[in-house]
Symmetry: C2
Subunit: 160 residues, 2 copies
DNA sequence: CAGGCTGGTTTCGTAATGCAACCGGAGCCT
DNA sequence: AGGCTCCGGTTGCATTACGAAACCAGCCTG
């Protein structure tokens, strides 16, 4: 299946001036992020993803095409490989797993553990910190328009 | 609209033995994470979300109900507030923004900047590190079944 | 008590999903 | 050559979810 650019563009956020919306445009549906996850686990071929996920072939085909279109996967020698842009999703996947380990499964209920291959020690949870490395919460943060802010975005922050 | 538990359950992954799938079960569609983002920006009332996102009322109603069902929001005095479980999504949102800032907008194109309220310095990007604080990549990692792994999950890792 | 605002629910057309069947090429046998 | 069987899809079609707009019920406010 060819990626026609319109999938998930129910209401297009492709032009939305927000990084989170942009990220969701690239992999913001049910399957897409699971496909990426499997790629991190080592899946490369169409049949790898198909077997691991139990996804319908047409949907898988569409999602892979989309990921290639977004330069998250590259198709070489009939295999789908993570690009640097795709590899850069590691913190996203890690944050999601951290969250569910803590709030869905709870301590001792983690279905998978991620360890350092050499030291065999667990990877610590991601922390949002200030420039000095001190952990911060939502209340310590201030969100301001950046250099790429649209007029609309600026207006939004002025209103607040 | 009442949350009937079936939304997004095209194929239910609610029981899937994977944290990422679990996270997606809670907020795995287009709008839901944007609703959460807006809550982090300070939105509390139905009309706040509606105005910021331009979302249809029925969809918003459904998503809010789902977020309440998943204990990410709590409805108190007619307002939707982030629970601790919801606040814990900060690293997820941060990871998504980090990624799009780097790979979609590029340096100097960031639509929004997140700063420390006191020091006014930017929050550094999230890094996946080993136990000593050294940044690691996908190739440094090994994924193993955890204490909560289902037999199916264990089999999957044995096969590899 | 008319009118407006908030916070929804209902209706209904449209778009995405997912199952199953089909298909074309490559690599074997024989 | 002829036929078998994977692999990697595409096509067709029924089902389901999504989303825009209309509607509605409570609560203020004048």
């Amino acid at each position: 299946m060819r990626y026609d650019g319109a999938v998930l563009a129910r209401k297009r956020f492709a032009g939305m001036n927000c990084g989170i919306a942009q990220a969701l445009e690239a992999f913001g549906d049910w399957w897409t992020l699971l496909v990426v996850r499997d790629a991190f686990f080592g899946a490369r071929r169409f049949s790898d993803f198909e077997a691991n996920l139990g996804i319908a072939k047409n949907i898988l085909s569409n999602r892979l095409a989309r990921l290639v279109a977004h330069d998250i996967f590259a198709k070489v020698d009939g295999e789908y490989r993570l690009t640097p842009k795709g590899e850069a999703l590691l913190p996203v996947l890690t944050a999601l797993r951290d969250w569910s380990d803590e709030w869905v499964f709870g301590k001792g209920g983690e279905p998978v553990l991620v360890k350092d291959r050499r030291t065999n020690r667990r990877i610590p949870k991601l922390r949002v910190t200030d420039a000095d490395g001190v952990e911060v919460t939502r209340r310590d943060l201030r969100t301001v328009p950046g250099p790429g802010a649209s007029p609309e975005t600026r207006r939004f922050f002025e209103r607040r």
